[in-house]
Amino acid sequence: MTSPVLTIDNLVVSLGRNPDGLRIIDGVSLDVQERETLCLVGESGSGKSVTALTVMGLLQKNALMPIAGSITLVGEELLTASDRRLRQLRATRMAMIFQEPMTALNPVAPVGRQIDEVLRTHTDLDARARRKRILDMMEQVRLPQVERIFASYPHRLSGGQRQRIMIAMGLVLEPKLLIADEPTTALDVTTQKQILTLIRDLQRDHGTAVLFITHDMGVVAEIADRVAVMRNGRLVETGPLQSILRTPAMEYTRNLLSSVPSLVPRAPRVDTTEPVVLETTGLGKIYRERSFLGKAREVAAADDVTLTLRKGRTLGIVGESGSGKSTVARCIVRLIDPTSGGIRLVGREISNLSRGLLQPHRKRIQIVFQDPYRSLNPRVTIGESIAEGPINYGMPRADALAKARELLELVDLPPDAISRYPHQFSGGQRQRIAIARALALDPDVLVADEAVSALDVSVQAQVLELFAEIQNRLGIALLFITHDLRVAAQICDDVAVMQHGRIVEQGPAAQVLTHPQQVYTRTLLDAAPGRGWDFANFRPVAAAV
């Protein structure tokens, strides 16, 4: 039995100094052993990040206060430690890596120097020894051409490389504890897989204890030894990975797991002979960038994209960031003008129509965006937002507002929401409002651009269900843009996989996602975290077949 590296005992963190204030963390007890990865999972607002920040002593002073409990790191109490002592401990005993490595690194200093700063502050090594140790560490995190990267600025590196730098910086002094706060959430799946493997390998070599914070059950299945589930600042349950995934004791954990969409595509629907509502042929979008003196540089964000979507069907476009899937969506809705190719919407070519001529066709295609916090005007009431479209097309105001009420009911929100403002709603509710707004014009095609990506899994599952229900009821065609293969597997009839602006593979979801023909599709599927686990049925996928 090894001794715990980190022990959190009955921690309480409250808002402000007042002991009766709102408790953000309410009685959390955890421990992390040497060479062990404890995954802290929970939905947004569950208090997982606050727990990590409390351990690091990085809470906002006077805003959040630990008022009870204790945190011990290798036998040393942290809550009562002085700022000076905490500063020492932060590099030598514990380290933290964050979600967005670009903002965690200083943009105006070479990354090598930033790691060097850690060594200069905490060791007596001379410049030569420090450099040797940094290059060695950079090799351990498997960065290529370490000499070149040592002198590079953060913006020169890719997201994955920046996260490797953060890991190198965290581990260079061989801390006993590494806290990783959603370290792969901002990365593409293929990069995510590499980083997860890297963290596991380094942990094996150095014996580090890892507290891994994530909302993604797939990642948990990949990396965790033990799992702690949090909700509303309380610990729901803790246990070894297998028992949490197979036999969760608590209702909340069961719900959380069964909300995770399965990678196994849903049963295919019978092919329809309904009319084609949306068709693109050889659609292309080229961005030209002209530097001050240099020649124009051309980037093909979308190239020769040909898609067909029938009434009542769902077509998914999947791909990693920068693959051009959003560009295609925005071209189709004509928020940007395509450079080449055609878009036929309900039998009418719209790719070359001017703004004015486009007006009557706009209502046939509507879009739902990713970020629920920015897709509604904060200064306009919900009712006005939804009614805006119908009023534009000549519906009297009173009728449009009545329609807004109906639509709110359709998306399971109380009709009296029409007189309220967006900030009074949660993210999932706002996304429902955005869907109601898109439906207000009775479109033939609804484009969902990463519409469920910003939502917690349980909310995501509800919104996906809403999309399916709306499609059943209204016979609308859905163009679903997503980076998440799980989501695509659950909602799409057909899937198009995009890479570098081109479609690499296209076909029925069941075929593309289970028997991919292209190497890239296979890579994507392999990288999907937790692909071996069927979360909703509490068993490995293999057993299900």
Binding site: E43, S44, G45, S46, Q60, K61, N62, A63, N232, E251, Y252, N255, S258, S259, V333, L335, Q359, R362, K363, I365, Q366, I367, F369, Q370, D371, Y373, R374, S375, L376, N377, P378, R379, V380, S385, E388, G389, N392, Y393, Y421, H423, S426, G427, G428, Q429, A434, R437, A438, A440, L441, D456, S458, V459, A461, Q462, E465, A536
Partner: protein, 295 residues
């Protein structure tokens, strides 16, 4: 896949910044500034009723008299009542301050909205704005006044022109970032006409920065008018403005300092008040500033 509804975590989001007037009395200092500004404005507006004498009436027999019961602040070099002139002077100074602010914001807002939305227009409009900004404001004002003769209207225009590019740029930058917001794109997709998008989705975003810029410029405009009058390039000397009174009083500074002291004091109080209210408005409208204070 039936899911029991999990309560969604409600995330508290600060209400969108709305111009509220509560900040005017938020601290004792701001409250004092508000009271001072209102008092000066009331005094100026009611000048014809409260001024003891005609500010233009010359009394050669009463030149440079010290304060007395008849002339509470004494008389100037032409025997005019200083108190009456200072009271009347506030009218022009405040008129120019608030007038120039209103005009420059209205014109700058329109230019900024258009250049933020139309790329072709933007290239042309912004080069013109750059051109105006390249000329020092006082120099431009003096040139305009000397070309078209000194009157309240020309001084107002002369002070307004150099400010327009600053407002236009501010509005343009707000519009440029706001038009990328998904809610603006959703409005485009919903077929909203351009004027509607501008009025409903873009314009409200400019309110907070404009209030800040406006109060700042208001104080600056009062000061610029005083400088122009002081330099002799402003409104003709017999019309009392705070700047004019001080410019004339300069020659008699050693014999009669009150000629500069009283208009100078009111000018300082007015400008300080406007600036303080402007700062308070900025803090009240910018939620990030509030957070910083809380830390």
């Amino acid at each position: 896949m039936a899911i029991e509804t999990l309560p969604e975590p409600s995330i508290a989001i600060a209400a969108p910044p709305r111009p509220r007037l509560g900040f005017l009395t938020s601290t004792p200092i701001i409250a004092t500034a508000t009271v001072c500004l209102v008092a000066i404005a009331v005094m100026s507006i009611s000048a014809p009723w409260i001024a003891p004498h005609d500010p233009l009436q010359l009394l050669p027999a009463q030149r440079l008299k010290p304060a007395s019961e008849q002339f509470l602040l004494g008389t100037d070099a032409y025997g005019r009542d200083v108190l009456s002139r200072v009271i009347y002077g506030g009218r022009i100074s405040l008129l120019i301050g608030f007038g120039a602010t209103l005009v420059s914001i209205s014109i700058g807002l329109i230019i900024g909205l258009f250049s933020g939305f139309f790329r072709l227009l933007d290239a042309v409009l912004m080069r013109i704005m750059d051109g105006i900004m390249a000329i020092p404001a006082i120099l431009l004002a003096i040139a305009v006044v000397s070309l078209s003769g000194a009157s309240v209207a020309t001084v107002l225009i002369a002070i307004t022109i150099p400010e327009i590019p600053r407002v236009a740029r501010l509005v343009r930058s707000v519009v440029l970032s706001a038009r990328e917001e998904p809610y603006v794109e959703a409005a485009i997709a919903a077929g909203s006409a351009l004027p509607k998008i501008m009025w409903r989705h873009l314009l409200p975003n400019t309110v907070a920065p404009l209030i800040v810029q406006g109060t700042n410029f208001c104080a600056g405009a009062i000061l610029t008018e005083a400088i122009l009058s002081f330099l002799g390039a402003g409104i003709s000397p017999e019309i009392p403005t705070w700047g004019n009174i001080m410019a004339e009083g300069r020659a008699y500074f050693l014999i009669k300092p009150s000629l500069i002291f009283w208009p100078g004091l009111l000018l300082s109080i007015a400008i300080l008040s406007v600036n303080l209210i402007g700062d308070a408005a900025r803090d009240a409208l910018d939620p990030r500033m509030k957070q910083r204070e809380a830390k």
